[in-house]
């Protein structure tokens, strides 16, 4: 089983501890929501899991598909089926979305370089007609504009365009576990619905596991998580079912946290903690 098992994970950035002991297990086919105010460490968790060099793991372990994730390079993690939908996708001028997608698919197939190889058993690059077909399907599902994939990767894209292309990549790369880092930010309500339905479809039809990181509750109207976790100051302070997210929406963070016997951090104002603020 390609489960993601995080145990007592401590992460520092430039010597400052941001995550102070995260325990979390995401199994295939499960949807988890990780909620929390700005600065609680949500994005740090996503970058650390993907292996960004600036995020230093000081303690703990992460197992993915039965292997030690922390020992792997960034690309090995991806090829094993871990996907991160970035909050701020990087522009790569001069590299067209189409070429990049084909390259990423081939990388996942284990193709080296341009795939020219004398070994008959070496992995083969995706054939152009097949690539076109899967690309068309994914574009249709996510309502991605044809012009967008001819452009350079994220170069001059609007926030919404970037997010759609992230989810397009996810649909094509078929990960076991996807981390969606604030995918909802920058999307208008129609785009949010399309993207969320796409994620839901991958979970239902392909058994993908998802860790949906969000500041706001609104994406959860379209993706219904079985598990909801609240992250405050680098620790998961409360976990529950979907009703926990609903309570956050109705009551705001502070009362919910209090009901778990946790005091909301003083530096975070009430408005910041209101789950419904959008």
């Amino acid at each position: 089983m390609a489960d993601l098992i995080i145990k007592n994970l401590h992460v520092s950035v430039e010597g400052t501890e941001i995550l102070s002991g995260i325990d979390l297990t995401v199994r295939k086919g499960e949807i988890h929501a990780l909620m929390g105010p700005n600065g609680s460490g949500k994005s740090t968790l996503s970058y650390a899991l993907m292996g960004h060099p600036s995020y230093e793991i000081t303690q703990g372990s992460v197992e993915f598909d039965g292997q030690d994730l922390l020992e792997m390079s960034v690309d090995e993690r991806a090829r094993l089926g871990l996907f991160l939908a970035f909050q701020y996708p990087q522009a790569v001028p001069g590299v067209s979305v189409t070429n990049f997608l084909r390259m990423a698919i081939n990388a996942h197939r284990g193709v080296r370089g341009d795939g020219r190889n004398d070994d008959p058993d070496a992995p083969k690059p995706i054939k152009i007609p097949e690539f076109r077909k899967v690309l068309e399907e994914a574009m249709e599902l996510l309502k991605v504009d044809r012009d967008l994939i001819r452009r350079y990767l994220n170069d001059g894209f609007s926030g919404g365009e970037k997010k759609r292309v992230e989810i397009l990549q996810m649909a094509l790369l078929n990960p076991a576990i996807a981390i969606l880092d604030e995918t909802d930010s920058g999307l208008d309500i129609d785009a949010l619905r399309i993207v969320a339905e796409g994620v839901q479809k991958l979970v239902t039809e392909r058994g993908m596991g998802a860790l949906v990181i969000t500041h706001y509750q609104r994406i959860l109207n379209y993706i219904e998580p079985e598990f909801v976790h609240i992250l405050v100051d680098g620790k998961i302070v409360a976990s529950g079912g979907f009703d926990l997210a609903k309570r956050l929406e109705l009551e705001g963070y502070a009362p919910v946290l209090e009901s778990f016997g946790i005091e909301a951090p003083a530096r975070v104002g009430a408005g910041e903690l209101a789950g419904t603020k959008a």
């Binding site: 960034v74 690309d75 090829r79 790569v92 001069g94 590299v95 990049f100 990388a107 350079y152």
Partner: protein, 447 residues
């Protein structure tokens, strides 16, 4: 004086002197005009001081070991078959052509010259020696007008080129005549040789043509010297595409002066590709001498090891309402070094000038180094001039992003380089050449 051009078949291994100049003039069957130009150039060469690193335009140039006083006066074409084989895998080899010419070391191989059967009337594509004999009016009206002989140290190598002349190409396209397919010249250095190359390209008013030249060598380990002078005349309302690619073996040292005169409303699209040579000192000059002329210059270089690429570009706006746009991009690996020094000069009276220059460098290793020095000298008041220079490393965030999609670090770096070159490649308007250069660079990345 013989009636027909002679092909120089013997190397004159003694260095340049009055005696060897006379000997070469005889062997080459010089016309009176060429003999006189040769003698003048030799005298200027003797007067012009050898540049040193104290001279402004030679500050970064590694001149140590370049002993012009020991250079043979001329090296004959040798190993012609090997040279021909080398051209089969040149950057521009698969291009359909209007004409082709092979030049080996100092001498053009007359038998190598081919011309499409359907060339329009009046088009001349021949060796310089032959052109001087067959078309003296056309030839003498233009030779040395764009890149003249002077006593300046900056023209020391130009003077050497003219004094040692034993080959080169003359392309002439008459008024309102269009040649669709490119003309190509392959300039090849063979083992033990030295290259002396001259090109004179003349487009009359309303003419259109494409000229592609490529510098190559047959021996990967041979450290020869190469010296090139290219004169381009873009007549009024003409349209010239010019591609110059330098893919010498790494030990070669290459000096070159390329200069275009763009006359009224002429359009020039000029691309320069630099991949080879241990040291390349290249002047690329655009003189916008006619009102409304329009020149686009694109440069691309990709160097590694201890290669040094040294470009000196000059955009002279001598007439009003002219447009020039320069973009040079380079990728540097290992301990490679690039120098780009660009100058936009706007003469008094060149109102309405629109001029750009930009140089960007992508540095792959801490040992690689780029010097990027843009300059402006403006003597008119109604102008728009912009310049920019950037030196960047591979962006770790771009790398992380690509790796997060399963692409290995090595492949991700290559993809970022490909992306970096895409903009400059897209500017090369000669489609076949653009595609070939792209393939060649991608192959080099995988090598």
């Amino acid at each position: 004086m013989t009636a027909t051009a002679g092909t120089v078949t013997e190397t004159i291994s003694a260095p340049l002197s009055s005696a060897t100049v006379a000997q070469l003039s005889e062997a080459a069957g010089d016309t009176a005009f060429l003999a006189q130009r040769r003698t003048e150039a030799h005298a200027a060469f003797e007067r012009a001081p050898m540049p040193t690193r104290r001279d402004e335009h030679w500050r970064f140039t590694k001149l140590r070991g370049v002993e012009l006083s020991e250079l043979p006066t001329v090296v004959a074409a040798t190993d012609i078959e090997a040279a021909r084989e080398r051209t089969a895998t040149s950057l521009t080899s698969a291009v359909d052509l209007a004409g082709e010419l092979l030049h080996v070391n100092g001498v053009t191989v007359e038998e190598s010259i081919t011309r499409a059967a359907d060339l329009p009337d009046g088009v001349v594509f021949s060796s310089i020696a032959q052109a001087a004999h067959d078309h003296p009016e056309l030839f003498e009206a233009h030779f040395g007008t764009v890149v003249p002989t002077t006593d300046s140290l900056d023209d020391k190598f130009v003077d050497l080129n003219t004094a040692s002349l034993a080959g080169g190409v003359f392309l002439y396209v008459p008024r309102n005549t269009t040649v669709e397919l490119p003309f190509r010249a392959d300039v090849v250095l063979t083992s033990g040789g030295a290259v002396n190359w001259r090109a004179l390209i003349v487009l009359e008013e309303g003419a259109q043509a494409t000229f592609v030249e490529e510098f190559l060598s047959t021996d990967a380990d041979y450290a020869g010297l190469s010296n090139a002078v290219v004169e381009l005349v873009a007549g009024a309302n003409s349209r010239l595409h010019y591609v110059t690619a330098q893919d010498y073996a790494v030990p070669v040292r290459h000096f070159a002066t390329h200069r275009v005169h763009a006359h009224r409303d002429a359009t020039v699209d000029w691309s320069a590709v630099g991949l080879g040579a241990s040291m390349g000192k290249t002047r690329m000059e655009t003189h916008l001498v006619g009102a409304g002329s329009h020149v686009k210059l694109t440069g691309l270089y990709f160097v590694n090891g201890t290669q040094q690429m040294d470009y000196d570009t000059y955009q002279l706006h001598a007439a009003p309402n002219a447009y020039s746009d320069l973009l040079f991009r380079g990728v540097l690996d290992d301990k490679a070094h690039s120098v780009w020094r660009g100058m936009i000069a706007v003469a008094p009276g060149a109102q309405g000038t629109d001029a750009f220059q930009k140089n960007s460098n992508l540095i792959l290793t801490p040992g690689a180094h780029a010097d990027s020095i843009p300059g402006l000298k403006i003597e008119a008041n109604d102008v728009r001039c912009t310049h920019a220079a950037t030196i960047t490393k591979v962006d770790p965030e771009q790398l992380f992003y690509l790796q997060a999609r399963g692409i290995t670090r090595e492949e991700a770096v290559k993809e970022i380089i490909r992306g970096f070159f895409t903009d400059v490649l897209d500017r090369i308007e000669v489609e076949q050449v653009r595609d070939q250069v792209r393939v060649a660079i991608w192959d080099r990345l995988d090598a």
